[in-house]
Symmetry: C2
Subunit: 239 residues, 2 copies
DNA sequence: CCCCTTTATAGTCAGTACGACTATTAAGGG
DNA sequence: CCCTTAATAGTCGTACTGACTATAAAGGGG
């Protein structure tokens, strides 16, 4: 029961931490900031900050996202609560409970070093560690969550600009999952899943570089994919 | 960035709230406590309480679970973080951030009214609302999460005793999803999914009531189901 | 004691999804 | 003007799925 009267309660500091992911040059990148002070001075960490008295954690996360990326409009970006980290010793200075979020960006702007960020950079996911505090774990949890959600939601489109080719969409899956996918089969499945993507009607063709121009698509309205787009099973072909 | 120095920080109270779900007589039930004081005096609420200074949220949740259910050993029970609720006005008295958990129980013991719970009861899920605070939302989120996880994890066995029949397992799915399932097909899929369940070797038969006795199974070790056991699609057969 | 109901388990069958391929089209580059 | 690159189209056999039918093994009521 809610025993407000029975237990004394200790005040906690509540922060948000952001795992901001994007794709640059076909590789998964994460937005990191360099810490200026102890503890972990000089180490890289996930961006974050304190939740203000009048904010929800979601509001604080979106504010931090805007501050750290330098983007004026972050309202359309995908921002999702990951989980809360509350180990008593996770911050050596004081008792800090952190609500972690995952954010997905389509086209990565150079993080303006302005604002309050001492130094903010896009770092390839593979070379990000070790991070300060328990951020290694948060980042790993974020990656795992995103990979899982690609299977049964249309989340992949959050990595893409508003209009994209199926090849770009496939690259999202391949990069996050770390697995090459068969192009014709990927195409078939995506187009067979209602509400995942919809073709851009006009004479829509992207002339990026070499090769046949690809048709452009927009994100469909569907939140859940039916059927899901399962990643190649680690099991399934055992002995 | 972690601007501990830049912003003043407000102390928050941090609580855990528990959505404890079980199956009784083929219906989904949730453990509720009756509030004795304002606000929401006389209303039912999810059990919960303050996180103590030396506890993580997970530790606090398991402690509360033990206290509220009266079970001496809650170490084997499924307990999982749901998400954190932090709207500034969710508690009219003060700023409270609550980390919500979902717990799944196999056989429901009568909640001992002892401990500190004024009154604790198993309430059918459908008649649980309205609850105090934002607990309606928490409960709905818990239900949705559990329903989704039944698809791609072996979570359903957490609702069952250590040995169970496939009929009982099917009842878990039907009750949580609110959909009848075809028995032969359910059986085929469960047995075809490696690691989901394993037969109890001995002369294992349950003579519960009428009908042919069923073979007994135990939970297999698999965390993820491959292939997943998808619920009958709301879409898929549209117009 | 014999049906009749109940529940478990076995099996069938057609439609579909999927993985692995091959083929064709439409660009750009030397 | 080929050659490479990338997009798109199509094929084929297997696995899976949903909808069913059939059989087996219990208990209960006349």
């Amino acid at each position: 029961m809610r025993a407000y009267d029975k237990y004394a309660y200790e005040p906690f500091a509540v922060t948000v931490d952001l795992a901001v992911l994007t794709l640059r040059a076909g590789a998964l990148h994460v937005l990191l900031v360099e810490r200026g002070q102890e503890p972990y001075a000089g180490r890289w960490a996930l961006p974050g900050g304190f939740v203000q008295p009048d904010e929800s954690a979601e509001t604080a996360a979106r504010r931090e996202l805007s501050e750290e990326t330098g983007l004026s409009d972050v309202s359309g970006l995908h921002l999702e609560q990951l989980r809360t980290y509350s180990e008593p010793d996770r911050d050596p200075r004081m008792r800090v409970v952190s609500v972690a979020f995952t954010a997905l960006l389509p086209d990565p702007p150079e993080p303006h070093g302005g604002g309050d960020a001492a130094q903010a950079r896009w770092v390839p996911y593979d070379t990000a560690r070790p991070l300060a505090f328990d951020h290694d774990r948060i980042l790993a949890d974020a990656h795992e969550r995103v990979g899982a959600k690609l299977e049964y939601t249309g989340l992949a489109t959050a990595f893409c600009p508003s209009e994209f080719t199926l090849g770009e969409l496939q690259q999202v899956y391949e990069t996050v999952w770390g697995t090459p996918l068969d192009r014709p089969n990927f195409r078939r499945k995506v187009l067979a899943t209602p509400g995942f993507v919809e073709p851009v009607p006009g004479a829509a063709r992207l002339t990026g570089g070499r090769g046949k121009p690809a048709a452009l698509y927009r994100a469909g309205g569907a939140a859940a994919l039916h059927p899901p787009l399962l990643r190649p099973s680690r099991e399934g072909r055992p002995a």
